[in-house]
């Protein structure tokens, strides 16, 4: 057995496999299916300051080798979240990351003030990349200035590790990543979903109540790998968390070889609830077979001759 533990800045994960925001709740449901302590970490559904009902249904649609969603950050709001979800969440034996989003800097600050005191939270994932909400969301994550402003604002009020979740819907993800890191982010998570839509040609309407949504799943894996690769090349010293299209252990390994220090499994879980655990096992086997004593040695281990 190889040493599977990895560090994302100061956060130590027992293995590099986390579950992605929005695909796992806080683990209640999937916790009925397997022991959550096998996970490297859990990222909560994104929480906002006020409760959000979410977008008009339908909210999900299947696409070739992937899916669209336009959940719209449905969540009970940070206060209710702390009251009803944290008591469950805090007991879990894996890294616990809370994903948050706000309509403006002030909202982010208010949310962080409420969670900074929670010992059980190992890191904060700042979601500036949700394509499914009008305010905040994607608009934040496409401007280096806004990202930089936001991160430096929140950096001042918390010592907790700050991870910034990036959108692929930009010209230069490394530029956005750099602005986040320069402003104090501890790690970069990539990618969130791609802006996308599907059409019901019979009724001539969008397949989603919200018209457009975010594409995830195997279909986007090649895009995600290219973004992780670009981030790691531009910022070799910054921990990158690879997200996008992981549906088997090999995909997670590909993310790590491209430059990720850890991964998050998203919609692949819907196909196969045990996937995160299969990925842990698969990484271990790979490390054994290819003689990597530590999983962290996989990061950026791609051979490139140019």
């Amino acid at each position: 057995m190889s040493d599977l533990a990895v560090n994302i800045g100061n956060v130590r994960l027992k293995n590099p496999v986390m579950v992605a925001s929005g695909c796992f709740g806080v683990g209640r449901e999937y916790g009925e299916l397997f022991d959550l302590s096998f996970l490297g970490g859990i990222v909560t559904k994104t929480v906002t300051l006020e409760p959000r009902e979410g977008n008009l249904p339908p909210r999900v649609w299947e696409t070739p080798a992937g899916m669209l969603n336009s959940i719209g950050l449905a969540n009970p709001g940070i206060s209710a979240f702390i009251e009803t979800e944290i008591p469950f969440f805090r007991e879990l034996d894996c890294a616990k990351i809370i994903s948050i989003a706000g309509k403006n800097f002030g909202e982010f600050v208010e949310i962080i003030k409420k969670i900074d005191a929670l010992d059980c939270i190992d890191a904060i994932e700042i979601n500036v990349s949700c394509p499914n909400v009008e305010e905040g969301g994607l608009a934040f994550g496409t401007s280096p200035e806004t990202v930089s402003g936001l991160v430096s604002t929140v950096r001042k009020i918390t010592e907790k590790p700050l991870w910034v979740k990036l959108t692929p819907n930009v010209t230069d993800i490394a530029e956005i990543g750099r602005s986040a890191v320069d402003a104090g982010a501890d790690a970069l998570c990539a990618i969130n979903t791609l802006s996308a839509m599907e059409i019901d040609i019979g009724r001539r309407v969008s397949r989603l109540g919200n018209i457009t949504g975010g594409l995830s799943g195997a279909a986007i894996r090649p895009v995600a790998l290219a973004k992780v690769f670009a981030l790691h090349r531009a910022l070799p010293d910054v921990p990158v968390v690879g997200i996008g299209g992981i549906t088997e252990a090999g995909d997670a390994i590909a993310h790590m070889l491209a430059g990720a220090s850890a991964v998050q499994v998203g919609s692949g879980i819907f196909r196969s609830p045990h996937l995160p655990i299969e990925v842990v096992v698969g990484i271990d086997q790979y490390c054994e077979f290819y003689d990597f004593p530590r999983a962290e040695d996989l990061t950026g281990a791609l051979n490139i001759e140019e």
Binding site: L33, K45, E53, P64, V205, A218, I269, H274
Partner: protein
């Protein structure tokens, strides 16, 4: 508690046009299954076509096996319906809350493939009668082996049973019942909900919505109810008809 297992198909047969009955060996699913619950199913091959599992009602559970009735409407159901005896399916379930305990005599109203969860209900609750509507005879599932509950059949074209729809069947006998469970197309459910409201009979409807996770984690399958958005997979698929905002469902841009 749901489980995710690989279950072998022990029996598969065609029971109506485009419709198959599949029996799967899955003891840990079967032992907890209640009428109104469903499973998320896919073939066991590592293919992305389709990417997601499909929600299918449990139409029976006995002796460690579950029964599914699948109607082919697209690729996902075609793949399921084409699997063969001996093949393995991935089965996650039982999921959802299922039907409430019936309050006395129970009317089960099925439109089309909505028959599936109601068959399980009919086998489970003796004092029940099934009203089963379809467009035409070909699509009517063979019920000759259903001993446990009586049934009336209607088709739009009168090719078998009465020439009317399931709601009209129900209307004639509704005063005999203390509870109604219904599953089928939304207009039918809406009509039944109105009828039951007028008659002051409690009515539970089983709804459908596109699903991703099926377990309540993704918020993808919500519908608007009088108490806000609810997840069809976890808070349903069975809802009190009075909770539903029917106008929202009717106006849905797509399904």
């Amino acid at each position: 508690m749901p489980v995710d297992v690989l279950g072998k198909i022990t029996d598969k047969r065609i029971i109506a046009r485009d419709t198959v009955r599949i029996v799967i060996d899955a003891p840990s699913v079967a032992e907890n299954a209640k009428p109104g619950q469903f499973v998320m199913v896919s073939q066991s091959l590592p293919t992305f076509d389709p990417f997601l599992r499909r929600p299918i009602a449990i139409s029976g559970a006995e002796w460690g096996r579950i029964e599914l009735i699948v109607r082919v409407v697209g690729w996902g159901t075609a793949v399921l319906a084409n699997s063969e005896e001996g093949d393995q399916l991935r089965v996650l379930g039982p999921l959802g809350i299922g039907f409430p305990p019936p309050a006395g005599h129970l009317a089960l109203v099925a439109g089309g493939i909505g028959i599936a969860p109601l068959l399980f209900a009919g086998r489970n609750w003796a004092k029940s009668r099934l009203f089963y509507g379809e467009t035409t005879a070909d699509w009517i599932c063979d019920l000759s082996r259903e001993k446990s509950c009586e049934f009336d059949i209607a088709t739009d074209d009168g090719s078998v049973g009465e020439k009317c729809n399931a709601v009209e069947l129900l209307k004639k006998k509704i005063d005999q019942f203390e509870h109604v469970f219904a599953c089928g197309p939304e207009p039918m459910l809406h009509a039944i909900a109105k009828l039951c409201k007028r008659k002051k009979i409690p009515c539970a409807v089983s709804l459908e919505e596109r699903m991703a996770c099926g377990v309540g984690a993704c918020q993808g399958c919500t519908i608007k109810t009088k108490s806000g958005y609810r997840r069809v997979c976890k808070d349903g698929p069975v809802f009190d008809a009075n909770e539903i905002i029917w106008e929202e469902l009717d106006e849905r841009p797509c399904g």
